[in-house]
Subunit: 397 residues, 4 copies
Amino acid sequence: MRNIKVEQLMQTPVEDQKVEIVERKGVGHPDSIADGLAEAVSRALCREYIKKCGTVLHHNTDETQIVAGKSHPEYGGGEVIKPIYTLLVGRATTEFDGEEFAADAIAIEAARQYIRENFANINLERDMIIDCRFGTGSSDLRDVFSRNKMPVANDTSFGIGHAPFSELESIAYNTERMLNTDLKKKIPGIGEDIKVMGLREQDDISLTIGCATIGRYVDDLDHYINIKEEVEDYVAGLAAEHTERNVNIYVNTADQIEKESVFLTVTGTSAEMGDDGSVGRGNRCNGLITPGRPMSMEATSGKNPINHIGKIYNLLATQVAQDISKTIPEVDEAYVRLLSQIGKPIDQPFIASVQIIPEEGARLDSILSEAEGITDDWLASADRVIEMLINGKINTF
Amino acid sequence: MRNIKVEQLMQTPVEDQKVEIVERKGVGHPDSIADGLAEAVSRALCREYIKKCGTVLHHNTDETQIVAGKSHPEYGGGEVIKPIYTLLVGRATTEFDGEEFAADAIAIEAARQYIRENFANINLERDMIIDCRFGTGSSDLRDVFSRNKMPVANDTSFGIGHAPFSELESIAYNTERMLNTDLKKKIPGIGEDIKVMGLREQDDISLTIGCATIGRYVDDLDHYINIKEEVEDYVAGLAAEHTERNVNIYVNTADQIEKESVFLTVTGTSAEMGDDGSVGRGNRCNGLITPGRPMSMEATSGKNPINHIGKIYNLLATQVAQDISKTIPEVDEAYVRLLSQIGKPIDQPFIASVQIIPEEGARLDSILSEAEGITDDWLASADRVIEMLINGKINTF
Amino acid sequence: MRNIKVEQLMQTPVEDQKVEIVERKGVGHPDSIADGLAEAVSRALCREYIKKCGTVLHHNTDETQIVAGKSHPEYGGGEVIKPIYTLLVGRATTEFDGEEFAADAIAIEAARQYIRENFANINLERDMIIDCRFGTGSSDLRDVFSRNKMPVANDTSFGIGHAPFSELESIAYNTERMLNTDLKKKIPGIGEDIKVMGLREQDDISLTIGCATIGRYVDDLDHYINIKEEVEDYVAGLAAEHTERNVNIYVNTADQIEKESVFLTVTGTSAEMGDDGSVGRGNRCNGLITPGRPMSMEATSGKNPINHIGKIYNLLATQVAQDISKTIPEVDEAYVRLLSQIGKPIDQPFIASVQIIPEEGARLDSILSEAEGITDDWLASADRVIEMLINGKINTF
Amino acid sequence: MRNIKVEQLMQTPVEDQKVEIVERKGVGHPDSIADGLAEAVSRALCREYIKKCGTVLHHNTDETQIVAGKSHPEYGGGEVIKPIYTLLVGRATTEFDGEEFAADAIAIEAARQYIRENFANINLERDMIIDCRFGTGSSDLRDVFSRNKMPVANDTSFGIGHAPFSELESIAYNTERMLNTDLKKKIPGIGEDIKVMGLREQDDISLTIGCATIGRYVDDLDHYINIKEEVEDYVAGLAAEHTERNVNIYVNTADQIEKESVFLTVTGTSAEMGDDGSVGRGNRCNGLITPGRPMSMEATSGKNPINHIGKIYNLLATQVAQDISKTIPEVDEAYVRLLSQIGKPIDQPFIASVQIIPEEGARLDSILSEAEGITDDWLASADRVIEMLINGKINTF
């Protein structure tokens, strides 16, 4: 029997609140780079552990630190003056059962590959240094890890999820995603460092977008201004697919056009010039920062997917909320909180708290019991999330 | 005219919700060590800038990374095997108006002094390495910084605050504070690394406490068990001052007494053995992690207190909420969100959103207008917060 | 008028001494890797300075530190467990006359390129980390540097050279060079880390050779033993071209064949497993360590080729000695020492001391005056050496 | 039977050569700081190993890298702007026979203590960062190390020594030693970074001395000039005790008095501003750099004193030469070279080559056989040198 508490939440639904704030840091934001590297390293280690001994061994690689470089951006080119310095921090099992694991080497390789695949304009030969200081972790924790078949929580921690996305959340999320994929195909001058800050005041939405541009694809100031306008137009169209509210779009508001001071970069990310980054300070595992919703502070990226309960419960809570929201049409909003206690099996949370805002007029009893069933199912097969993670089926930021 | 929106929040007050989760990471938690170092370095730089040129110059030192060491704890002693490695990251102005600033040297000195003052059992001669990789920041940002007298926001960001603390919040916060000060005087074996996880299910409160102990003050396993019992008793008494609810207390639940595997350290912090730490991943600026309340992801510690709007608005929002809560007795809960737009003066937020849950039967109109007045006052004198910060009158974690 | 002192040296010529010791560290020895990286970085900076402002600016990049990694060599493969960590240290001009120089980025790029060109089996994606901590040097030294057209010595230092090579010197030098080029073409299992220690006792020569092998090209222990034999045969043939003395060859004497403990590597260098390296601790600029000859301790690699007198004078002294030895057949041995005084033009040494051992029966007067002329000529055109250096025409180790 | 070859050396004695060059880098020269740290760390490890398991375990800590800082010296004060960064590199045994060794922590502590004891004006709270990247060495080498009671050579390497010191050698050595001890007591403004370059042209000696001064003890330019004069006078007096030759003394010749550009420091060493340092690039183990004498390139400091043959043989060769020179009055000069072969016991060199320049008219036979006896005795008790090293009775630079 699991300790699952489902209750109706008496609360103004987010769409009806007067003010809503949502933020998304794009894949090229320094904090997201740190997240992406941390998770890429963890996944590479998982693959190696599984290859060599059939199971994932203890590791946590969730403390990557990005130390900003210095650059000299120019229209048509520019160069990085001082490379971005990246320190991979964490711990990993390097010996187990007579087998040795090249944890540091694998980490470096995975990190470089991640950068190469996601940042076409970072030249790894000169723009970025990737360093590594791994430890070997605490033997007590390793003990917890192998105590029995069902993984047990490595900590007393919690995870949180909600569904569905509000209009503003959908817009913020998709704006960055589409700029960085769809529009980027057309306009290579768009950099990966895109930050979207969404504000809704009743029916007025403002999107403040910081969007790096890449010097080698931008001819001059006119071209730059032209790109900004294309971004604005594109986002306006995209937003209209999600909302009928009034949408105002502000791109690179810190520009001082008259001084020719604009958001131009060499590599596509502000990490090249003054902006450091850390794991766990950006998007939550649903891809957003949503100050109006419950959130966990836990860094999800880079944690081991087997017993790191902060990681697993955040991802699981999000899955549960999304499943409830999709399966039960009468649910307006679903909030899920899972709390562990260190040493307990991960399918037995200390508490699973589910809060539902039902549609007006919905039959509450059946909703609550259906939601409880969905929650119980997901907990019973908590390893599904673990598998999805290892196979790269879930994002962590 | 400031854009201040005050509204009634239709929501079950936290005390009436069925489930509440609150966490506090103590001063010796690796994430808190990172926060503390980052803020100590920033304050030292502020003092130097003010001393030499009358104003705070551009800096952000908010990316300290703690790389865990390795230790060999023992009853009656033990030793650190591999020092904790601490990398101070950030940027600071090193030259201004013909004056040179010893930013790196000041940072190292401030960091060492902070450790010395807060960690009696970290031997800086061998237990910890403090390294520093500072840059000099972006000249564009420096430009923003000095453009006019009234500081302007350096980013599009938001800050969030609420008041008052719930019972559980008060208990979680004070448990760590009192263990680390009052009880520690009596029991020196209590380490600074204390984590309190509070859960309330209706009227049942559980406090799961991870509390490091320090080998040199613990004679043997019996003594260790004895200390745990004293902690339990002390916390039970303390909790009773804040609540009439039923309180269960769990201390160091990961211990395996029969295997003599317990939470024993050399220095008082798990950073000595396997636990890394980062700035901005622990407590919010009110000292807590409160997943049931709106929160900002912004790291507050180490940011410059002049134009780093994420820092200023988080602290300011908390002050505003507390002031509203104290001044207007009919307010049950107050939530404050401040959103900036990059380049705008900090006393002119893009929006200041205040949400109030009034007492039943309260006169809403007067409450809302009074709250607006308080908010406006605080914004008008936004520099009060800056001054309080520089003078060390406000905590950031 | 230059202070040139030429004298006859009363001394048993090296070939007639009873005992002679000569050592050469191959290009893959950790100390030589450090030398090679330091010099490659300096040359890349020279090219950039010349490209951007027509002259070489102040820099010294002569303190590369190689921190050994950890590896798991195997026949037919193996892998690096922990990457070799390389820290490029030095200082370089990053701003001059309104121009910015990407010193750190150029250094990283040049270092990676050097490794790629010289170490076919170091996989830069995972086997080696290249980090950089450059400073910007002392303004006083920069002052010295630009004071007038003719470069002035940056220090009080000396350089030393001798010619011709003795038989043993020729053998030691060529053994490494030919193994690493000619024989390596035929046997790819030969690693770049080759150390030759030559000892001559009267007419008996012993060559003790440490020669790394590369796992992926070595099938098994028999193959390994076979390679060692081929190396022995090859060196025997090579030595016979240089001497008629009796030559004994010892390859990898630390092997313990019965325990299968042999000199097998993954990458071709022992830096992968336990052997650190530093600039300036290996070969002198003539390619050898010759304890029976005068030597300078000065690290030549990585020093700037314009005013770093320790570098210039070592290379120049070697050129002068070689020229004297080639031009004047009656010279058996020539030793050249050049001593600078800080602040003086490099063509005006504090003293140029030339010592000659003439053939028996040679006419001393004419030899001495001819040697003086040659020395004077080289000093007068000291910049020839500088040019040769920048164009990569002279080796430094 | 040991392979000892003693021969008469036909060579102009050094005092009779026309030109002689000798250099000594003082304890505060960046290269010497690196040497001193490396050796201090090794000795601390030796003590710990002996304390915990009765014998010295494998380690080599001979690759300390000093990365220069940045400073702002001023008369009466000044400050370090950017700390000197020191990276301790090497490897050490961290586990043996069930015992754990805090190698990194011990290294940091020993390094800090060494600085504190030798550099009164380096403030370790802000002027210097001491970092550490230790590995654990190759298991093969550890194997070699414990194979039998008598230590066996870890490498094929050689050591070299000579005696007695020439006049110039004595002067160069003692000038630095006495300035840094005797005169420093009287004039605290003298810094530890003193470099003495001695040149003798027949009977004219020039001493070029670079001598740092420490701002806080120097009132102004006049005071500085005054100190230089006192140094000159003092050295003149000291030289007169060792020679009757003509002595010219040049102190801080790079000064530009008219521009007030002088050798002023904050800490007493140029490592604070632009001068990096490495182990093994400065003085040989007899305290001097003597390009006219046979020298080994081997770094002595920081190597383990048990089986690191490069270290042991350099120190031993120096002891043997000094003993021969002292014991046999008819010996004018003695040169000793010891060559090892990897894997052989250290008391059995591959060859011990002793070269003697006898007094005119001396009876060669008895000299040679007496020298052979002394050499044999020292080799037989090679561990005496090891013990002297561990007990700090021999210097290494």
